[in-house]
Subunit: 289 residues, 2 copies
């Protein structure tokens, strides 16, 4: 459902020369992401008392924001990645100006999609929609993804390892903020209480950090064959990881702790409805690649 | 009022390392723009029956979107401008990653600001606010500024001049779309009718093109001294302008025609309330630099 809707969401070309922007946006948005953020958003909407489908516009918006951050992050003067999900990065498949502007247009499209009153049922009041836009905006900018990316970039290539509080700041902003926006916007649309929204914020922060700790552990303990990507990259590079900072055993303990915290935040919900979010937390914790 | 509010709108730094993003956003947003878009937005709100101050959040958002487009447009692989408003461009005063992310964060901040329910009076209903977000999003992305910038970039350095319909497409998207969003969001907030909003759309499209035609004429007919910037740049470069395409006399006629069209769109309004928008159209048409 999400893939179909994303495909439809990109505005049609308005002039022959606007094909290029249209194609670049489509290329990156339909590059086969796992759609974790939309899934979180829809599940949180149901958990908060709504129908999954109510949250579709916000769910699409979270994936657009995610895609935009990847397009800009891959640019040569940023992380300089030529490949993304096994295909050429946007600036390689197209060029740098097109990638920059496709990212900009994708961020705008996220807000256009999330604010479109006519794509929500009457159960979803306009003030909820305005709050959803605010959440999405906050997680994207100077208090979310953008500042996380900048602090991350400025922490690479230093002679000293990144201290733990800074490492956490990076992951909370670069990764967890958008996961948080996904569950919170879903819950707002579903009519969740302030208390429920707070629980979901806590859940998202925990799985955001959990994702990163597990990533660091896998890079250190698995072979490239097992991971399906180059293993041991973190050790070879100067990237600060949890195992480097606190050791492998303590990192595993921390992962267990975060998984426990994530599940604890779901205790207040009906356990059947919370099952998808429990499943996702387990998946993040116990994945082998 | 706008300058003060813009200064306050940038989120405080949340971590020592986030200073940089904060400073870059502040640097570009407070670089002394003329605040034409906020002025249009506030005036349109009053014209549509509201108080000017109601539209302040949307007015700030239009200036943020404008600033973001300038930051990204100045980047080396884009227009490659080292100077902006007599100061170093953002990527020169800081660096390229910081400028890219300051632009991203600025776009997000525009939507955060415009969607903030608590910054509007009770007279402004949440459904108006959601519509305002939609207008701002549409004018920024694949149907607005971003596509205008891309088609403009891809039209530079070609051996043949840009045809008239493409030149108009560029100006309508790169320049007029945001002017249109400024007046339309103001009018939505002020409670304007659909008919009034349509008039204002027409007004904005006319002054958007008018601005560009007059710019082209001034570049050709004034000295660098008179303009306060290098004159004759368009002729020296391969940039397509109205005088190059249709000649100087026809360009002047076209400017008069656009000015007339802009004013005509204001006929349906009370003439005293419409005076600021008439003044602005005259200013754009008759400016000498």
């Amino acid at each position: 459902m999400v893939n179909q809707a994303l495909d439809w969401a990109i505005p049609a070309k308005s002039f022959p020369q606007s094909n290029l922007l249209h194609e670049a946006m489509h290329y990156s948005l339909m590059a086969g992401g796992k759609r974790v953020r939309p899934a979180l958003c829809l599940a949180a909407c149901k958990l908060a008392g709504g129908l999954e489908s109510w949250a579709l516009p916000a769910a699409l918006a979270t994936e657009m924001i995610h895609t935009m951050s990847l397009i800009h992050d891959d640019l040569p003067f940023m992380d300089n990645d030529d490949l993304r999900r096994g295909r050429l990065a946007c600036h390689k498949a197209f060029d740098e100006p097109t990638a920059l502007l496709a990212g900009d247009a994708m961020l705008a499209l996220a807000f256009e999609t999330a604010s479109n009153l006519s794509s929500y049922p009457a159960d979803v009041s306009p003030d909820r929609i305005a709050r959803v836009v605010g959440e999405l905006a906050r997680c994207s900018g100077a208090e979310g993804v953008a500042v996380g990316q900048l602090v991350d970039l400025k922490s690479t290539g230093l002679s000293e390892p990144v201290p733990l509080d800074k490492l956490e700041y990076i992951h909370l902003h670069k990764t967890a903020a958008l996961l948080e926006a996904a569950v919170v916007t879903g819950a707002i649309i579903g009519g969740g209480s302030d208390e429920q929204i707070d629980w979901l914020r806590g859940y998202a922060r925990s799985i955001g950090l959990l994702f990163q700790v597990v990533d660091d552990i896998l890079d250190l303990t698995k072979s490239s064959e097992e991971l399906g990507k180059t293993a041991g990259k973190d050790l070879a590079s100067d990237k600060t990881t949890y195992p480097k900072l606190i050791g492998l055993d303590k990192s595993r303990e921390f992962a267990e702790e975060l998984l426990g915290q994530a599940k604890e935040q779901l205790n207040g919900f009906d356990s059947e409805s919370a099952a998808p979010l429990v499943y996702l937390a387990n998946y993040i914790a116990y994945r082998q690649k």
